[in-house]
């Protein structure tokens, strides 16, 4: 299969810019707005869905199954390690809060929305966003291959 027409492909490629910008915005503002890692990651994963539809089999190199699952695992390990690092006070403790220039005091009440107010929360959001992006892409890629699958012989 070679995917859809050239118009669709170019549109998909162009759309990648606003969609990924929006996804990254949602991830970065996770500690200020109801967004966060999952929502942003899901938005990013729509790019994968778009590309699978537009480019069909040509995505094999870009969305490598092994790479995606490795990224997913590493992002999860990062997330849990961040939680472990707070263990000198409590698990998930926000140890970076008020730590310095990049990690300023937390925002309280109605505020201007500065990004450096979340402590470790933005880092965790990034890890979750990466994880969700790779996991959802992985699911879609696998289902795409699966839809053309023959009867599987002894997979275990």
């Amino acid at each position: 299969m070679s995917g859809l027409s050239k118009i669709v492909r170019v549109t998909a490629a162009v759309l990648m810019v606003p969609v990924s910008t929006f996804g990254l915005y949602v991830i970065m503002h996770g500690h200020l707005t109801p967004g966060g890692g999952f929502q942003g990651g899901a938005v990013l994963a729509t790019i994968s869905a778009l590309f699978i539809i537009a480019y069909a089999d040509e995505i094999k190199k870009a969305l490598d199954v092994n790479l995606l699952s490795l990224v997913e695992t590493l992002a999860l390990i990062t997330f849990i390690s961040l939680a472990f690092l707070g263990l000198s006070t409590t698990f998930f403790s926000n140890f970076l809060l008020k730590a310095g220039e990049l990690f300023n005091n937390p925002a309280v009440g109605i505020n201007g929305g500065d990004l450096n107010t979340g402590g470790i929360i933005p880092l965790m959001n990034m890890a979750v966003g990466l994880e969700v992006f790779s996991a959802l892409s992985l699911i879609m890629v696998l289902m795409y291959y699966g839809s053309k699958m023959e009867v599987p012989e002894d997979v275990s």
């Binding site: 200020l32 707005t33 109801p34 929502q39 109605i110 699911i139 699966g146 009867v151």
Partner: protein, 122 residues
């Protein structure tokens, strides 16, 4: 007059009525449908019903979205049910993805997604 009052009250509770309808539909599909895809759809519809219930619990009339960044006023809808709903949407997604992949494998195996064509009884 009474009719109008009743109408308004129904409008106020429209979210809850939808919740009941969605959960009922979902349960109906899970229990009575034989197509495996429809069963998965039933699970998802039921999940949507429960999510709607959670969201409408947190709704306060005239409240704004709970975003503190340059918020116009301090009267907001409850953020906790929204957080719960998000978590439950994520989990629902995972469940439905897993079930659909099972259906895919079952289809590969038997070339049928009807639960009557099964070998397994019990």
């Amino acid at each position: 007059m009474a009719l109008k009052w009743r109408y308004q009250r129904m409008l106020a509770n429209i979210a809850y009525i939808t919740v009941v309808v969605l959960i009922g539909l979902g349960l109906y599909a899970i229990v009575f449908k034989q197509n495996l895809i429809k069963i998965v759809m039933g699970v998802h519809i039921m999940g949507s019903g429960v999510n709607l219930f959670l969201i409408s619990l947190g709704y306060r009339e005239g409240g704004v979205a709970p975003i503190y960044t340059l918020a116009p006023k301090l009267e907001m809808v409850l953020p906790t049910p929204q957080a719960l709903t998000l978590t439950s949407i994520v989990i629902n997604l995972a469940v439905v993805a897993l079930m659909l992949s099972f259906v895919m494998f079952i289809y590969c195996r038997y070339n049928s997604i009807d639960s009557q064509d099964r070998r397994l009884r019990g």
